[in-house]
Amino acid sequence: MAAQLQHLGYDDEKLQRVMERLPCRDVQARMLLALMGEPEQCSYPSIFIYGHRTTGKSHVIHTLLKELELPYATVSCVECVSVGLLFEQVLLSLFGSDSASLLSRSPSLSDFVRVYKQLCVQASAKQTRYIVLDRVELLRDMEANLLPAFLRLQELVDDNVTVIMLSEIVWDKFRPNTGCFEPLLLHFPDYSKGELQQILSEDSHPSYSPELYSAFINILLGVFYSVCRDLRELRHLAALNFSKFVEPLEQGKVKEGDTHKLWRNIEPYLKKAMQTVYLRELSSVQWEQQLQMEEKEAGAVRGLSAHAHVELPYYSKFLLIAAYLGSYNPARTDKRFFLKHHGKIKKTNFLKKHEKTSNHLLGPKPFPLDRLMAIFYSVVDSRVAPTASVFSQISSLVTLQLLIQVGHDDQLDAPKYKCAVSLDFILAISRTVSFDMVKYLYDFL
């Protein structure tokens, strides 16, 4: 195989090393190498690589470029809050530390092209330069000319440069409606179970044999493969549970070959891990503590979602209840709930067609401040003076993200809000003030 690659003009040994570091991505790596050609050869202007998270896109590219010692710049688009930052990082890594000073304070694309050309003349390279743009989908939200320009940067700067774009999204979602240069598309498929097994087995624990670790990975994949194929997550799970797995070995109860016994030992923990750790309900540290605590105090450490209870001041609770009622009851039904002599209204005749579906399925609706206060005054049992602190509680509920302010016009006269808490949450709140929530909800009539 190595013989086939020889003509590409790279060192044989280096290629060998690269291939070793890219397990299960043989096909893709070869494809890339073929596209890149020999270092001196002119390469294709832009390559677009897509595939799910943790399919080895960045890893393959970086290993190739780094090990083969090619000139390259790699930029994550998340980091680039401004275009200037993007240009700067490209120039910095391609032309050294002085280059960025040539850019003006807030450079435009043409500035970048100009500076690039200028530097290119000074330091014309024999090898192809590579620019790797990670998470390139964010480029779409920046200036409109950026993406098309990067796609044909080679033409613009008149240099042997290839732009490699990495994304989790397919190319169809990128194509601007004005049309653009079509990059070469390269797909990284998900790893299969066997491939995952092979990759995970590589980071084996130094003090145990690789076979044991591989057996452990086998068990782990048996439990988790059906729910999770994310390599990073699986690696995390492996790291968390391995110490438990080898515990019987440490204690000398079981021999290394006895996988069945080891499996019996670890299985309940893995099942438990599926409930909490996979959702990152517990931090890894807490998980380890819990493993050490054993069953004695099982449930002592609870996940994040177990702490859903929030303590609120008395009136804040009622304001939240009023907001919930405002969000989930149609405004026309307020009369029925809050007037003493409302008469009987039958649910079916009373409502328009679209209101017959459950309001809880449709989500919260916005309501004006007036309505909130009107409901508030009728649900709270004592007379409340309209003090400043009652109103300030509304805004503090907004900062706590329990209410959401909607719309931006007319904020002074008639602000509108939405209630952002769940039914369970509001039921718990109303229980503490002994308010029968269900009786006031139209959906439960």
């Binding site: 998340v78 931090s283 702490h307 929030v310 503090s396 900062t399 993200q401």
Partner: protein, 718 residues
């Protein structure tokens, strides 16, 4: 310094040099009082007392925070050490991509958190790392702002540390302006740590240097996680995770609601980059309880809020804000108001009170004699004494000293007994006297607690208490009484110890119980013989009676004794302060003032001003009957009054006509003349101005529903 000085100081004086006499707090305090010496004294009293109270509460809050801060610090130190061990350890290598994160749950009152975070940042800087940044949501509307804040503060602080090299500082500042990215931060961090590692003797923090390792972590504190824009936060975490190998980053999330907000804000792909550990702080109600315990339920401070005042403060806390800081501020306001409004509060201090009593001026003695509690005291005295008390200043001063001493003794006995009663009643079902000691305290302040129905029912429940519960409660009471040094309390303690000793004699109890058991069976035997209905009834009645009297086991007798003893203590020491002469000196009772200041009602004030301008302007012309407005009132009041009569939509032209009529009447025009109520330019302009003022105040707004109409934003009216 006199009041004229503070009046004479103008803000708009041009030269700053001439303005040497800026009024101090003291000037404001003294301003407008007739007796400057006295008010100065009061001000000093007030200051010293407040300083003491503040110091005490701060100490208490530090103590309360300590536990959670200690565990946080331990967490951060541990994370540092794993970072330093680097790739040696298999487990930490596998976890290298997680950013250690502490989720700090602090309760819903966000402003209170500032102090905790300040404390945390200080302690971190002292013992773990100099690189601590706190960011707030308001500063981080976008990702670049957030980056800028973090970098500015980090690089800025280190610059202020390394102030030997001013030129580097300037370059740093320049660079920062050019690009705010984590690469800059990385480079900066490398140079800083290299400098530290190269062993140049660092002058400024040698004590820290020992503890600080080669790679001090960078701690970013997000003060109010909920308020952050989730997108910004996600991006920031994503970026940080790219540099986690080069930078030992660490986050602290300040969470006001519940930890599940993290999951709401961050998708799994982001939250999996964090290794989150949870820290829960003390709930704010517990916090309040300990503050009240330390500041109010103690004889240490002579200043006392009355029951009503305390109730206002507590209800603001419970109903509105859950803020301990606001509670303390409210207490400070009460303190200030007390010393400001009550001239006799010179006597409200600890040691100097008696000295001050001998130095009372004649005017103040008169005030003293007019105090209701003192007059009541005078009435109780013999005729000779009464005359003396009403005529001789010197005698009054003497008596006053004695009364002050009595008052102090009263307080010294009051609080221990209050605590004892609370211990006994706090575990009763349904909490007849309140779950918290503050509730009991308030009811004791208001009237004789033993006259309450709740007290009677509590006593009844206590009479049914089991032995071990009762003795353990009494033992706790004894513990409390032990720490008190007054004579009466010592006597009480002695008696209580006696009772406890009796409870502990199991032999006697058992023997007596046997005897009681025999008694119980004997009348039962007698019952079988008789069959007569009348006889049966008689014996049953007898049996009932005998059971009531005879079946009292010695334990029960002892229990009754103990409770009677407690009851007598309550009756003698928990009388409300109103019964004590001179209580006005120490108790601040104008709860209405406090409520008005702390729980303002802006809307009610505006409505009062508009519907009853006399209330604020105090102009006799504006005095009007209930519900009407004089036609001489300001334009806006007239317009407001007229708009109350309208429905949801108001026709502007009709409104103008009505306004012109009212104003014409005010001008004294003849109602029959032709131009009465005619709209001229001046009236038109005044009307427009008044209407736009109303719009500004939020009573009306323009509407598109109908031309020439405005819509009302308030409902109700006349």
């Amino acid at each position: 310094m006199t009041s004229s000085v503070s009046k004479g100081c103008f803000v708009f004086k041009p030269s700053a040099k001439r303005r040497r006499n800026t009024p101090t707090v003291e000037d404001y305090f003294i301003h407008g009082s007739e007796d400057t010496e006295n008010s100065k004294l009061r001000f000093r009293n007030c200051q010293t007392l407040w300083e003491k109270m503040k110091a005490d509460t701060e100490l208490l809050q530090d103590e309360l925070n300590r536990k959670i801060l200690d565990s946080l610090l331990a967490f951060i130190r541990k994370s540092v050490s794993t970072f330093q061990r680097g790739t040696d350890d298999w487990a930490s290598r596998m976890r290298a991509h997680e950013i250690p994160t502490a989720a700090l749950v602090l309760g819903v009152n966000v402003p209170d958190h500032d102090m905790t975070f300040q404390c945390l940042a200080d302690q971190l800087q002292q013992s773990v790392t100099p690189f601590v940044v706190s960011v707030q949501a308001t500063e981080c509307a976008a990702l670049n702002h957030m980056m800028q804040r973090v970098l500015e503060r980090l690089i800025g602080t280190s610059v202020s540390v390394d102030n030997e090299e001013p030129e580097q500082r300037s370059t740093n500042v320049n660079q920062k302006r050019v690009h705010c990215s984590l690469i800059t931060l990385c480079n900066w961090y490398k140079t800083v740590t290299k400098k530290a590692a190269s062993g140049t003797p660092r002058k400024k923090r040698t004590s820290v240097g020992k503890d600080m390792q080669q790679h001090p972590p960078i701690v970013v504190i997000f003060k109010d996680l909920e308020a952050f824009n989730p997108k910004v936060l996600q991006d920031f975490i994503l970026i940080c995770s790219r540099y986690v190998e080069q930078l030992p980053l660490m986050f602290v999330f300040g969470i006001a609601t519940s930890p599940s907000t993290i999951q709401h804000m961050l998708p799994h792909s982001v939250s999996s980059l964090l290794g989150i550990e949870l820290f829960q702080s003390l709930s704010c109600t517990q916090h309040l309880a300990s503050v009240i315990d330390k500041v109010i339920l103690t004889s240490q401070f002579p200043f006392k809020p009355s029951g009503k005042v305390l109730q206002v403060l507590v209800s603001i806390f419970l109903y509105h804000d859950f803020s301990v800081r606001n509670f303390i501020k409210g207490l400070q306001l009460a303190l200030l108001e007390h010393f400001h409004s009550q001239p006799l509060s010179v006597l409200c201090c600890k040691k100097e009170a008696l000295v001050h009593a001998t130095e009372l001026s004649h005017r103040n003695v008169e005030r003293l004699q007019q105090l209701p509690s003192f007059m009541r005291y005078v009435e109780e005295q013999g005729p000779q004494e009464q005359v003396e008390l009403l005529t001789s200043d010197d005698h009054v001063k003497e008596v006053c000293q004695k009364l002050l001493k009595d008052l102090r003794k009263y307080h010294k006995n009051y609080y221990p007994i209050l605590r004892c009663l609370h211990i006994l009643t706090a575990s009763l079902p349904k909490y007849p006297l309140g779950k918290q000691i503050r509730e009991l305290h308030i009811s004791c302040l208001e009237k004789n607690v033993w006259e309450n129905e709740e007290y009677a029912s509590a006593m009844q429940l206590l009479r049914m208490m089991a032995k071990d519960e009762l003795t353990s409660a009494l033992q706790k009471c004894a513990e409390i009484l032990k720490s008190v040094k007054t004579k009466k309390m010592r006597a009480a303690l002695l008696q209580l110890d006696n009772l406890l000793a009796k409870f502990d004699q199991p032999g006697d109890l058992a023997a007596d119980e046997n005897a009681a058991g025999e008694d119980l069976t004997s009348p039962g035997k007698g019952l079988q013989k008789k069959t007569d209905l009348f006889q049966l009834q008689k014996t049953l009645l007898e049996m009932k009676k005998s059971r009531r009297t005879k079946t009292m086991s010695p334990f029960e007798i002892l229990r009754d004794q103990a409770l009677e003893f407690i009851d007598s203590l309550v009756r003698s020491h928990l009388a409300p302060p109103e019964s004590q002469p001179l209580y006005e000196v120490c108790y601040y009772s104008s709860s209405a003032v406090l409520r008005r200041h702390l729980n303002a009602t802006p809307r009610t004030s505006i409505q009062t001003a508009l519907s009853n301008p006399y209330h604020y302007l105090k102009n006799e012309n504006l005095r009007a009957e209930d519900g009407t407005v004089s036609n001489a009132a300001p334009d806006i009041c007239i317009v407001y009054k007229l708009h109350l009569e309208c429905g949801r939509l108001i026709n502007l032209y009709d409104w103008l006509e009505a306004y012109a009529t009212v104003v014409s009447a005010a001008e004294g025009k003849d109602p029959d003349s032709a131009d009465f109520g005619k709209v001229d330019e001046l009236k038109h302009a005044r009307f427009i101005q008044a209407v736009s003022e109303l719009e500004f105040l939020g009573f009306i707004k323009s509407t598109k529903q109908k031309t020439d109409h405005v819509s009302r934003l308030t409902w109700g009216g006349c």
